[in-house]
């Protein structure tokens, strides 16, 4: 009981509506921002021969990630929940990125050598 007691003695943290309202506002602003940004050509950056970064998708994904993090932390109460829940969320995202990253590792390097 000792270990389980330690986790649950913190009383169930109630998130106040004011926090919800402010997060709602931020999310609306972020949505407007990302739509507006998509109408501007942010150009690209050739940081290496044959490798270019297009800023538009990067900015769009950055805004989407911040919105997602806000929803997960405040609406889904991960900010106030146990270390275990935080670890689960991070593990999920890690394996998701592993799937994307390792698959890309093949597609990206196909152009290098003959196959």
């Amino acid at each position: 009981m000792s270990e389980i007691q330690a986790e649950s003695h913190h009383e169930h943290h109630i998130v106040s509506p004011r926090v919800y309202l402010s997060i709602l506002g931020v999310l609306f602003v972020a949505t407007g921002l990302t739509v507006w940004m998509s109408f501007i050509d942010l150009g690209e950056w050739h940081f290496a021969p044959g490798l270019t970064i297009f800023w538009n998708p990067v900015v769009a994904l950055a805004i989407a990630c911040t919105k997602a993090v806000l929803v997960v932390l405040f609406f889904m109460h991960v900010k106030y929940s146990t270390k275990l829940t935080k670890l689960t969320v991070v593990a999920g995202i890690f394996v998701f990125l592993a799937l994307m990253g390792m698959t890309l590792c093949d597609y990206f390097s196909r152009a290098w050598g003959r196959w």
Binding site: P49, G50, A111, G113, R114, W115
Partner: protein, 358 residues
């Protein structure tokens, strides 16, 4: 049992006579791969004997009869470290050795003779540059690097020659390459090892390695008219590629002379070398591979040209060292009735349109 029944006797004789543990080594890579293979078998046997020795000796020494009172042992980090580092070290040796062989097999040398192999549901078609077409068989000269460029017309097949220790998947949509150099003449098995449907087990054949002069005799006896490049040229003309890819100054397509192996910059600014794969992609999915400075008006030939057709076109383009050949084909095609210049531009636009409306 006064006598052994003939069936059993024949079975034993067969087993005694041709019992082989591994296929004959008939290519340059085979001995190298067998060396790695037997190193790994050795390591496995040592590992297995260690484990069996441990189990058997401990079982005898510490059976309940001889050692009724067990001694509780927590463990020892030293031992844990040893059987982590040693296996890891051995595995890494195998990894590096294997990677060397892998890169050697899948990076063909420049001077290799290129044979195109088309996998199709339940047969292999080999296309020699000289025009020989073979079904389920492959005649090659000994002691000469041969590069296979594999493509499949339908599903995944896998071109496997156990005697050469070589295997490469033929996948639809993209060329895959592998090379080998036969060292011993003879006839060896050819298998399709990727499950491809009903007659997967019938998609087998022979790889016949001939000495130099036998190979010349075979080439002479089995030519079937035009070489691949000539087939390609006829296709090049009939598809009216020359309408855009000609040598006239106002040509709408880039000139194809000496394009094979040259460095091209595409309209997207990407730098690539024009190899077989690029030529095939440019024919089937042209709009992503337009060279800089040209309009993306080339129609796709996906579905209009079979894989053999694309191979013939690629082979033709590879041998286009001067515009003289195109000059000749454009003049000859100009004489053909239906390919009047005036009709041609409309034809290509109309062709593009025709394909479009459902």
């Amino acid at each position: 049992m006064s006598h052994i029944s003939p069936v059993l006797w024949q079975f034993l004789v067969k087993w005694m006579t041709n019992f082989a543990l591994y296929p004959p080594e008939a290519s340059t890579i085979a001995p190298q791969m067998d060396a790695l293979y037997f190193f790994m078998v050795l390591v496995s046997l040592i590992g297995l004997t260690i484990v069996i020795l441990l189990i058997v000796s401990f079982s005898i020494l510490y059976s309940r009869k001889r050692h009724p009172k067990a001694v509780q042992i927590e463990g020892s980090t030293l031992l844990e470290a040893t059987w982590t580092i040693i296996p890891l070290g051995l595995f890494l040796i195998m990894f590096v050795w294997g990677a060397l062989i892998y890169f050697r097999v899948f990076t063909p040398p420049a001077n290799a003779m290129n044979i195109y192999v088309v996998g199709k549901q339940w047969m292999w078609k080999a296309e020699h540059p000289g025009g020989q077409h073979e079904i389920n068989s492959l005649h090659i000269p000994v002691d000469q690097p041969i590069q296979l460029t594999l493509i499949s017309q339908d599903v995944f097949h896998s071109f496997s020659i156990p005697a050469f220790r070589v295997k490469r998947e033929a996948i639809p949509g993209r060329y895959t390459t592998v090379w080998f150099q036969a060292t011993a003449t003879g006839t060896y098995h050819l298998f399709c090892t990727q499950y491809c449907g009903t007659n997967h087990s019938a998609m087998i054949g022979d790889v016949v390695v001939l000495s130099a002069d036998d190979y010349k005799k075979w080439l002479a006896s089995s030519t079937s008219g035009d070489s691949l490049a000539q087939n390609g040229e006829r296709l090049f003309a009939s598809l009216s590629c020359a309408a855009c890819h000609n040598t006239r100054p106002d040509a709408r397509g880039p000139s194809l002379a000496n394009v094979y192996g040259s460095k091209l910059t595409l309209s997207s600014g990407e730098q690539i070398t024009a190899d077989d794969a690029y030529l095939r992609e440019a024919i089937l999915n042209p709009s992503q591979h337009i060279t800089q400075g040209y309009a993306p008006i080339m129609p796709t030939y996906q579905g209009q040209v079979s894989e053999e057709g694309v191979i013939a076109l690629v082979e033709y383009i590879k041998h286009l060292d001067s515009d003289y050949r195109i000059q000749q084909t454009t003049t000859t095609t100009d004489l053909l009735p239906e390919s009047q210049p005036t009709a041609k531009p409309a034809a290509t636009k109309q062709a593009a349109q025709g394909k479009v409306n459902p």
